[in-house]
């Protein structure tokens, strides 16, 4: 970081002379940076061997001088020579001077023939090795002229926008960084691969980087606003060993904090219990994310409850993201592209949940070729096909997954399990269509179904159904918009026919219809504004109990439907204050209307809300607004770059949540019901302050960060002892208001490139709750703070992947965490012909600490490009040390005595093998 440079750069165009004059003030500036500055402010172009100028630092002060004069100053007393040809090509050489005068006619011809210039391949040297030479593709050396030459007014600014796509499949590259070094400004592509960047007019070099893709750059001459589409190729290392380093500075440069992106490659490297790549399992390995135990895909982010996460799959809300007791997630790994978890600075675009947003994005189908992929594991099999529908403008992916797990249950010689069934199936359909370069259409549909029956008794079923359509419209280079409409549905049912008189079925469902319009307006280099409007209409059927046989005496019992409308407008500005300081400032105004028809109860003021204190009931008609809440939310982040490779960030944000899961179980279960905020149940509120330090090492291949946060939670729902949550017309009588405070510090080191990659993180965090309902008769733990079920102070995660060669890699996953809190008895007594235990304070104890190591070997078939089927195998062992990690500790009375037990979900090492294929 020697080149602490102070540079004021000003270009003076003198019409009389063809030569440009420069004002330069540079102190200890890297020569490369100097050349970039010149290049970006003129049409000079430098050719040199980076290795040679590696140690060259430039200190030069010049006023209205030509490049010749400036270079003379720089190279005086050095071994370097320079020469400038008629095309403004500058050649820097070590010991000899290039004669530029020899082929002038040839060069002139070239220029006259074409509007753009083709240049000789530029010799570029990978930054960290200093020796490996690589020839860049011709496109990288082509000068793209953007806009109308006639509009050229060097003083103005212009916006360049376009799509970044995968050259092979035509799929968009999400989250690619388009960066302009000279201006120290850049943007990331959105989920459609779209970007829009405002730059001063003139010569620029854009550097385009994305994880898993080969870095590329584009030279452009920006006359006025225009389009630039870039195709990137997948990073395929050649079979000769090369060290790759990429300039991935997103974590340092981005204003967002507390954001973690996982792409499917990383997700696939993480060993899971049944060998199938799982987004939620991968998310659980990130700092700040915990869960109550192994068979729960409910996850807790920075001390938030599991229902405080907004889980989006291509903008559709997935209410139950897990299958098969939580051992699989709802997301088929064959269609997933990336998963992004926002845990601190949640963009103003999102709202409605307190803790986090998990944004899972699916791939787009291959626009050029038909192809398929799939896999077979011990429990599931999956297959997907994709391809173009018409001439490269439309593509689709159709994929499905199903279990064949019943055989497992049947092999067990136990009558109850023989009568058991458990399984799931899901399907995705994604279609995208390019109407024209300014209009794109995306259709996304998802359906899942789970069912299980244990011991031939009660049958449980649940299902997610989501569909949406999105239209992305580019108004002009500065303004683009996405219009989304969709429906989300979740339902579960429990039924039993074992006793004909009591045969019943219970059903719950939730329907939401939503629409949103999101806009991005790149005003200028300093301001990039996003704004939009969203609305979600909820319709909940909180529970219907019905007879399930002709002899059944079960009375039909229906809890009244609930309706609500959650709408919001938001606006945010990404402000580049200076090259060092940038801000994201956003507001979101959310409004929630609890709508009729509904019967509501009011309670005697000053008394606890109980059935006996119901004072009055009121009936509302359809369309009546029963209660309205309006919450302004703030989203603020600031980033200050300390050096080229380090920055500090601060963020503050507030959130409101209007839909709640009612669950008094420790792990979220598929039969938890949801409840809207109403006149008695206030919206949950939260705010979070966080501060972080980010530092990258080794050419940004090692990212490190420390983040510190403090959160407040209000109107958190806790439950009275023995609360009835199902078929309850007045939930408010069974819940208690609680508040919470959460704080923590997260250390994170990630190695993004090289043979060994992965991350290690350590988190210290606490979450404490307190019943703060003044009317509560028996507040939990006498109204004192107590640790929440998912309070795990110390968590260490190690995720590593070591690539031995191109066909063979090893993954290791090590997890340690403090055991979760648990309530244990204080006394034993004899009652009802048995010894029993008495419980007192909640979560006073902890289960034993958790430790697990997983290991997997990934074997790829041969790498011939042209073969019918590409195979790969993953085999490994989950819980390698066979440690019997406690899931819970509990006491049970049976046979007239009481005993303590420890329940482990996996009491041994679980080997797995999965076969994956691609054709």
């Amino acid at each position: 970081m020697k080149n602490l440079l102070v540079i004021i750069f000003c270009i003076v165009c003198l019409k009389a002379s063809s030569q440009k004059l420069f004002n330069v003030d540079a102190d200890s500036m890297r020569f490369e940076n100097f050349t970039r500055l010149i290049e970006s402010n003129s049409n000079y172009f430098f050719y040199y061997d980076t290795a040679q100028v590696n140690k060259l630092f430039v200190t030069v002060h010049a006023k209205a001088q030509s490049l010749d004069e400036i270079l003379e100053k720089i190279f005086v007393n050095t071994a370097f020579h320079f020469s400038i040809d008629g095309e403004n090509h500058v050649f820097i050489t070590g010991s000899f001077t290039i004669q530029t005068a020899l082929p002038p006619n040839f060069l002139n011809k070239q220029t006259n023939k074409k509007d753009t210039l083709y240049r000789a391949p530029q010799i570029d040297v990978a930054a960290n090795t200093g020796t490996t030479e690589r020839i860049r593709s011709p496109l990288e050396n082509k000068l793209f002229e953007i806009g109308n030459k006639a509009d050229m007014n060097i003083q103005g600014k212009a916006t360049i926008s376009g799509y970044i796509r995968d050259i092979k499949s035509g799929e968009p590259v999400i989250g690619a960084t388009v960066f302009n070094m000279e201006q120290n400004t850049g943007v990331s592509t959105d989920q459609y691969g779209y970007f829009s960047l405002t730059l001063p007019k003139g010569r620029h070099v854009l550097k385009i980087t994305s994880i898993g893709m080969t870095d590329t750059r584009r030279h452009l001459m920006l006359y006025s606003s225009g389009n630039l589409n870039v195709d990137m190729s997948e990073f395929i290392p050649t079979l000769k060993d090369v060290t790759v380093s990429a300039d991935k500075t997103v974590n340092v440069k981005s204003t967002l904090m507390g954001v973690q992106q996982l792409n499917i490659k990383t997700i696939k490297q993480i060993p899971t219990v049944f060998g199938e790549a799982d987004v939620l399992r991968a998310v659980l390995t990130l700092p700040g994310v915990t869960s109550v135990g192994e068979s729960s895909t409910g996850f807790n982010v920075r001390g938030g409850a599991a229902d405080q996460n907004l889980i989006l799959f291509n903008d559709a809300t997935v209410y139950n993201p897990s299958h098969f007791f939580g051992f699989f997630s709802a997301f088929n790994p064959d269609v997933i592209k990336t998963a992004e978890l926002y845990k601190s600075s949640i963009p103003e675009k999102y709202g409605g949940r307190l803790s986090s947003v998990l944004d899972v994005t699916a791939r787009e189908g291959n626009k050029k070729n038909f192809q398929g992929s799939g896999g077979v594991g011990p429990i599931t099999a999956r297959v997907s096909v994709e391809g173009p529908i018409d001439s490269g403008r439309t593509s689709f992916i159709l994929s499905g997954r199903a279990t064949y797990s019943d055989w497992l249950l049947r092999t067990i010689n136990n009558d109850m399990l023989n009568n058991s069934t458990a399984g799931f199936a899901d399907a995705n359909l994604l279609i995208n269509h390019e109407i024209n370069s300014n209009n794109n259409l995306y259709i996304n549909a998802y359906i899942s179904g789970d069912r299980f029956r244990l011991g031939g008794d009660t049958l449980y079923k649940y299902s997610n159904r989501n569909a949406n359509i999105k239209w992305k419209h580019v108004f002009d280079n500065k303004l683009s918009g996405v219009f989304t409409g969709g429906v989300d549905h979740y339902q579960f049912g429990i039924s039993s026919t074992v006793n004909p008189v009591n045969a019943y079925k219970f059903n719950f469902d939730i329907d939401q219809v939503y629409g949103r319009a999101d806009f991005d307006y790149a005003i200028n280099t300093k301001h990039d504004v996003d704004f939009g409007i969203t609305a979600v209409h909820y319709k909940l059927q909180p529970g219907t109990l019905e007879p399930n046989s002709s002899q059944s005496l079960v009375l039909k019992n229906t809890v009244e439907q609930e309706r609500g409308l959650e709408s919001a407008i938001y606006a945010g500005d990404h402000i580049t204050v200076s090259s060092k300081l940038s801000l994201n400032a956003g507001v979101r105004l959310s409004v929630f209307n609890y709508l009729g028809p509904h019967t509501t109860y009011s309670y005697t003021p000053g008394l606890p809300k109980e059935e006996s204190t119901i004072q009055d009931s009121a009936t509302y008609k359809k369309g009546d607004v029963i209660k309205t809440y309006m919450v302004p939310e703030v989203r603020l982040t600031a980033r200050y770059s300390l050096t080229e490779n380090s920055s500090v960030k601060f963020s503050y944000n507030t959130q409101a949540q209007y839909i709640h899961t009612l669950s008094n179980t420790t792990a979220i279960s598929p039969t938890d019901i949801f409840k809207l905020s109403d006149q008695n149940i206030k919206p949950q509120r939260g705010d979070q302050y966080s501060i972080g330090y980010y530092h990258n090492f080794k050419s940004n291949t090692i990212e490190t960060s420390v983040e510190l946060y403090y959160r407040n939670l209000r109107n958190y729902l806790d439950y009275k002892s023995g609360a009835t949550l199902i078929l309850n017309d007045h939930i408010e009588t069974d819940v208690l208001n609680a508040k919470g405070k959460a704080y923590g510090i997260e250390f994170f080191i990630r190695k993004t490139a090289g043979k060994l990659n992965g991350w290690i993180s350590y988190t210290y965090s606490r979450i404490k709750l307190k019943t703060d309902d003044p009317l509560a008769e028996r507040p939990v733990n006498n109204g004192n703070y107590y640790p929440a079920d998912y309070d795990k102070p110390n968590v260490v995660n190690f995720i590593g992947n070591y690539r031995i060669n191109h066909r063979f890699s090893l993954s290791l996953n090590v997890v340690y965490s403090t055991g979760r809190p648990i309530t244990l008895p204080i006394a034993e007594y004899y009652y009802g012909n048995s010894y029993r235990v008495l419980y007192s304070d909640r979560n006073e104890y902890r289960i034993p600490d958790y430790f697990r190591t997983d290991f997997s070997i990934n074997l790829d078939g041969n790498h011939k490009v042209h073969q019918r089927i590409h195979n790969s195998w993953t085999l490994g062992v989950y819980n390698l040390t066979a440690r019997k990690n406690a899931y819970s500790v509990f006491y049970q009375s049976s046979n007239n005595q009481v005993k303590g037990y420890k329940l482990s979900i996996f009491g041994t090492a679980i080997p797995f093998i999965t076969y994956n294929f691609r054709f």
């Binding site: 179980t665 048995s834 235990v837 979900i905």
Partner: protein, 373 residues
């Protein structure tokens, strides 16, 4: 939800005994268990104290307390102490239209009382039935209904008694001290044993969500296939109590907190202290829920011939002991004399102890309860 964990155990999970380190505090709370019974049944109240969880000793009885049943109108009935914390009143003939409570003054002068509770009239048991299934054994059910629809909440207790026999009926007894072999008197028999087991599982049901106050085939207990329980004759006495809604919730909470934990979707356990309160110190926890009701009961018998499941005796070592060896063989512990070998003179058929002493193969008492044939 309760059985979710079973599938996980199947996959690889396990449940093992574990005693977490607990803070060793002795709270010594008073525990009051009992029902104020209407009709011709005696009222039993059991007073004990809680012990620490790790404490392996039995719970401590609360002795020398004054225990009374009181009506809202001021009637009062004293219970007699019968030792070991048990207090009993003869049939009280209480009124079904009044509310009663339990009132206790302990020997240290502290005063406790329950809430006043109504007296529920328990309907008769319609039937106690059973079904045989070769995989699951015999399942026993209770069916009951209340035409008035006022019971709605039920609790059951059962006591099962079964007779089991040894392979051989020993008619001889060897008195080692006298070196004498003689015929047994009936009270010395070791051939027939009777076991008694009282349910420790909380059995409750509610008909609140049904169109009729009918409990149909509520499972009471299950006898595993080929169990010794039905090797000769088995009897179960089911007692039925109608509960108030409050009492039902108490028992339901107690069941959830002490019997049903251990699934993967466990709720938080909590304390439900019941309807007993300390009058001396309102903050002092007292455990127990006092109900008042009449009792209905029904007994059924199941004989082996009705199930005819395989039942085998242990392996026996048989021997014929010549008169000279009687002292040598029967003074040891290996053999019991069964009977004289015919024809005389004097050889004795002997067999392994466990083949002629039913107490060794299934326990129980050799005294026949009056209700057993």
């Amino acid at each position: 939800m309760k059985r979710f964990f079973l599938i996980l155990i199947m996959i690889a999970g396990c449940k093992e005994e574990y005693n977490p380190p607990l803070k060793n505090a002795d709270y010594n709370f008073l525990v009051v268990e009992g029902n104020i019974l209407a009709g011709n049944d005696s009222t039993f109240v059991h007073l004990t104290r809680t012990v620490a969880v790790s404490d392996t000793s039995n719970v401590q009885p609360e002795l020398n307390a004054t225990v009374k049943v009181e009506s809202e109108n001021g009637e009062s009935y004293l219970l007699q102490e019968h030792g070991n914390g048990l207090y009993i009143a003869p049939p009280l003939n209480i009124s079904l239209s009044e509310n009663y409570r339990l009132h206790i003054i302990t020997s240290n002068g502290r005063e406790y009382a329950s809430d006043y509770v109504p007296v529920k009239q328990t309907p008769p048991i319609d039937s106690v039935s059973w079904k045989l299934d070769n995989n699951n054994g015999v399942a026993i059910y209770t069916t009951t209904h209340d035409a008035t629809g006022s019971s709605q909440y039920y609790r059951w207790e059962f006591t099962e008694t079964w007779e089991h026999r040894s392979r051989d009926s020993s008619v001889l007894i060897y008195e080692a001290s006298l070196r004498n072999l003689r015929y047994r008197i009936p009270s010395e028999q070791l051939y027939r044993c009777w076991n008694i087991n009282t349910s420790g599982e909380i059995l409750i049901a509610s008909t609140a969500g049904l169109s009729a106050d009918l409990v149909y085939e509520k499972p009471i207990t299950n006898i595993p296939y080929a169990s010794q329980k039905i090797s000769k004759i088995y009897s179960v006495l089911v007692k039925q109590y109608a509960l108030t809604k409050g009492a039902f919730e108490y028992w339901d909470n107690l069941k959830k907190n002490t019997e049903e934990l251990g699934s993967i979707f466990d709720p938080q356990p909590f304390a439900d202290y019941g309807n007993m309160h300390s009058i001396t110190d309102a903050s002092e926890p007292v455990l127990g829920y006092i109900s008042a009701c009449s009792v209905a009961q029904q007994r059924i018998y199941i004989t082996w011939s009705q199930v005819q499941w395989p039942y085998s005796f242990p392996e026996c070592k048989d021997t014929i002991v010549s008169p000279d060896n009687i002292d040598t063989v029967f003074s040891g512990f290996d053999f019991l004399p069964v009977g004289y070998v015919y024809p005389p003179p004097g050889a004795v058929f002997g067999t392994s102890q466990e083949c002629a002493d039913c107490r060794l193969t299934g326990g129980g008492s050799t005294v026949r309860p009056s209700y057993m044939p």
